[in-house]
Amino acid sequence: MITNLALIFFWAPTEMVMGLVQKVLYVHVPLAWIGFLAFFVVFIGSVMYLWKKAQPWDGLAQAAAEVGVLCTTLMLVTGAIWAKPVWGVWWTWDPRLTTSTILWLMYVGYLMLRGYAPSREQGARYAAVMGIVAFVNVPIVYYSTILWRTVHPEMVIGPASETGNLDSQMRTVLLFSALTFTLLFVYLVKERLALTCAYDRILSIRHKEGIY
């Protein structure tokens, strides 16, 4: 993380048109990437939970959804902060921004569904279905700049990006940043999973003791 910050501040060149605020890219894009990755993990966890009916898959989906919502929230906030000096507005109903907000709302709904479900098992089952359905929005968000007319910058990373979109030094820093954020995502999911397991352990002891 510290190496990443050093690369962003001291090694990556400053963009000529936008100036220093372009460096937001090194945070905003990796946040979007790990948001998508998190929702993919939720999708896998949900499918596996419905198939195997094994609780660890549900725990994984829950942990990834929570970290994914955090990253998507930060992605929307950092995007708005970047937009103010560049576009002159904090927010505009651009297709990329709108679809991203819908994605965020879907996963906030996913977490709420878990929280308000009458029982844990029901919550896990409903959430698994929602985790699968909500994932449909991820490719829509990614391809929204191609599908609709948009003011959002072109894609700089992933299968639909063009190689000439970014300076090679900037690309290196961006890829390093994406890698760093991916490791941070893995760490946070692991920590969140440990929390779920500790909670399950308490349920187990209470069951043995007959305390509910």
């Binding site: 920590e191 440990a194 002891i205």
Partner: protein, 106 residues
């Protein structure tokens, strides 16, 4: 109905020292280091912009806002998880102790 207490895999997950080797103090150290580097980086970029006469166009406050919000959120979340883990660890210890005592008295 799924019985949550049936899964042995949980025993693997529950080893907190294996899964969560970091404690609050380590987080605080890393947070301070990240903050120092961020402030130093932003100040150096601000000075550079001042020297080139482009400070008004540099948007340093926006950049500062992005980095500080992102890092505060990540560290805040990590602190929150650690705190909850510590509370649950304490509860597990208390329950295990109580369970052992009840078992021994029988």
């Amino acid at each position: 109905m799924i019985e949550y207490y049936q899964y042995d895999i949980r025993k693997e997950f529950i080893d907190m020292k294996k899964w969560s080797p970091w404690r609050g103090r380590e987080y605080a150290k890393l947070f301070s280091l990240t903050l120092c580097l961020m402030v130093f980086g932003l100040i150096s970029m601000g000075v550079e912009s001042l020297e080139t006469g482009k400070l008004s166009d540099s948007n340093v406050p926006f950049l500062f806002a992005v980095f500080s919000i992102t890092w505060a959120a990540f560290f805040g979340y990590a602190f929150y998880i650690r705190r909850r883990q510590r509370d649950l660890e304490r509860e597990i210890a208390e329950l295990t102790d109580r369970y052992t005592k009840t078992k021994n008295s029988k």
